[in-house]
């Protein structure tokens, strides 16, 4: 614990995030397109996407790294947040759809629906949609977690159920009758808050908001893990039954962290959708959720910033490698996971710590005498 409190890596990650959040939007807007300092619209959305993934990785680290709950369905909460945002963006299209129907999104007209399903009501309002971005994943996590934790389902069994949860949602959202655009999902977005979603201004603002959310989330998560609740949760991770005998309702603490992490993942999804321009059921695919686990494992779990480093690095590698040799990516990902598990159990952050360790250990062990 003490090692992390004096950690300089945290400071570096924070500074890097602040720099990305401020400088990239500025460079995109100020410098002309032929300047070496200009960031293209493509790189702005790409970096925005990485930051969304970093936020998603951070959410998994809270629940896996600290509470010890290996969730293999974190992508489900991300996708739900994304759908909530997507529904708002669909309502913004108005009469500009292919069918020009002000009341119904194109896919509903195509399916010969005559009126908007009840659960689409209110999504024209940005505030309501943002509330649902947090509430929809939060509520699902609450109900699922309450049932699972109360029955004391743990370990591999819990991981498998979370995987089944995201797979079930994948199948459900594929169905046209669900009213979420089926296979194609939600796309062809035009505006966000009245501004053209394709414009440079909106893209850079979205990147800025994502960076800001990530910084805010990192600060909040750090505050939580350093609170007494954070220590209780760490204790639950290491010796669950002992914590019960200290008088804590273990299931409620797990539920608290699980719901919090789900909401954070929902926020990440909501920031992701306007930047990539689409949300479809493939976001629920179990493979996506497994990838999140790999980001966190590669970065180093239980450190918060490790998840951010891991998410950005793995996704950068994915961008580069899928461009160079698309077929090899999954092998590289699997290989990275095996290597990290075998050689770097604490991930990249663990490697950094190992290099600066002797001094830090000395400080932690000999410092602060009473």
């Amino acid at each position: 614990m003490n090692l992390f409190k004096q950690d300089k890596t945290y400071g570096s990650v924070m500074s890097a995030l602040a720099a990305v959040t401020l400088l990239i939007p500025l460079c995109n807007l100020i410098f002309p397109e032929d300047s070496a300092l200009h960031f293209s619209a493509y790189s702005v959305s790409l970096i925005g996407k990485y930051l969304c993934f970093a936020l998603l990785g951070l959410s998994l680290d809270m629940v896996w790294g600290y509470a010890g709950i290996l969730v293999l369905g974190q992508g489900a909460f991300f996708a739900l947040g994304g759908y909530a945002m997507g529904m708002y963006l669909m309502r913004q299209i108005g009469t500009r759809g292919v069918y020009g129907n002000a009341e119904l999104p194109d896919f509903m007209v195509f399916l010969n629906w005559t009126e908007l399903p009840w659960y689409w009501h209110g999504f024209g309002n940005f505030g309501f949609a943002m509330l649902m971005v947090l509430l929809a994943p939060g509520l699902l996590a609450f109900v699922f977690g309450w049932l699972a934790f109360r029955s004391r389902v743990t370990g591999v069994y819990l991981s498998i159920i979370t995987q089944a949860l995201t797979y079930a949602l994948l199948l459900a959202f594929f169905r046209n009758e669900m009213g979420f655009g089926g296979n194609n999902g939600l796309t062809d977005f035009k505006d966000i808050l009245g501004f053209n979603i394709q414009s440079d201004g909106v893209r850079t603002t979205l990147l800025f908001c994502t960076g800001l959310s990530l910084i805010g989330a990192l600060l909040l998560c750090r505050w939580i893990v350093n609170s007494k609740l954070g220590r209780v949760v760490t204790a639950i991770r290491d010796q669950e039954s002992r914590v019960r005998f200290l008088g804590y309702r273990v299931e409620l603490f797990k539920l608290w962290v699980f719901v919090f992490a789900a909401m954070l993942a929902g926020l990440a999804g909501a920031l992701y959708v306007p930047q990539v321009g689409i949300i479809n059921p493939s976001e629920f695919s179990p493979l996506n959720s497994l990838e999140i686990v790999i980001w966190v494992a590669v970065g180093g779990r239980g450190t918060l910033y490790g998840a951010i480093i891991g998410a950005v690095l793995v996704n950068y590698a994915k961008t580069v490698l899928t461009g160079l040799m698309p077929d090899a990516w999954l092998f590289c990902l699997g290989g990275a996971f095996i290597l990290v598990t075998l050689l770097l159990p604490d991930g990249i952050v663990g490697l950094l710590h190992r290099r600066i360790k002797p001094k830090d250990i000395e400080e932690a062990l000999l410092g602060e005498p009473t």
């Binding site: 614990m1 609170s227 007494k228 209780v232 760490t234 804590y248």
Partner: protein, 268 residues
Amino acid sequence: MMSQILAPKGAASPQFHDFVDTRHGPILYLEDVSVSFDGFRALNHLSLYIDAGELRCLIGPNGAGKTTLMDVITGKTRPDSGEVFFGQTIDLLKLDEPAIAQAGICRKFQKPSVFDALTVFENLELALKTDKRTWPTLFSKLNGEQRDRIQEVMLLIGLAGLKNQPAGILSHGQKQWLEIGMLLMQEPKVMLVDEPIAGMTHQEVERTAELLLSLQGKHSIVVVEHDMEFVRSIARKVTVLHEGSVLTEGSMDEVQNDPRVIQVYLGG
């Protein structure tokens, strides 16, 4: 908010344990308790009464049911039949582990169970008797009085110098003490102490005996121990368990001279 909605009936409020009714003497009543696992009778119509403020030692050969007894009292195992009361009024069979712990029955495990990743101070802080719901825990801050209390316990268990060390680096004996310290932080009415001196040096054993003796009166203490010399050094009253029920009770001398006990231990 969440915890209020979800707290089951009977969940203890922080002041709960002050209402334990011990006017009739005993603080813990076990009557006709039976537990079986797959046909094996771990406890067999066992009845046991522990008086308020008493220091009681439980001995018995392996498989006599000592740990199962503690599991039943702390809510970990539900008996098949029988009654378990805390004072006159609190039915422990209706409460779960956290509620029983909050009511004031705390337990030290056979294998020292401290949180290795947390410091000595943090281990004690988690055990501290206070509001243990989620939101109050998130915003919890130690006040001066609570800090003093932690400091006091650290001095008592001889770990004040190791305040900021992770508990993982402590020796076996120090972990045992830390766990006893964690019990004290909970301000329990009843302390169940399972094999407190396993892995301790002679000096440590002596200090543990002193510590337990100094705590009787303020707390009711039930000690399970195999080391007869240690039991002799602390016990007023000893209960011998055999095959899931009470074989005999009495002073150490009485018990040691009881032919049934000799037969059980030496094999007749």
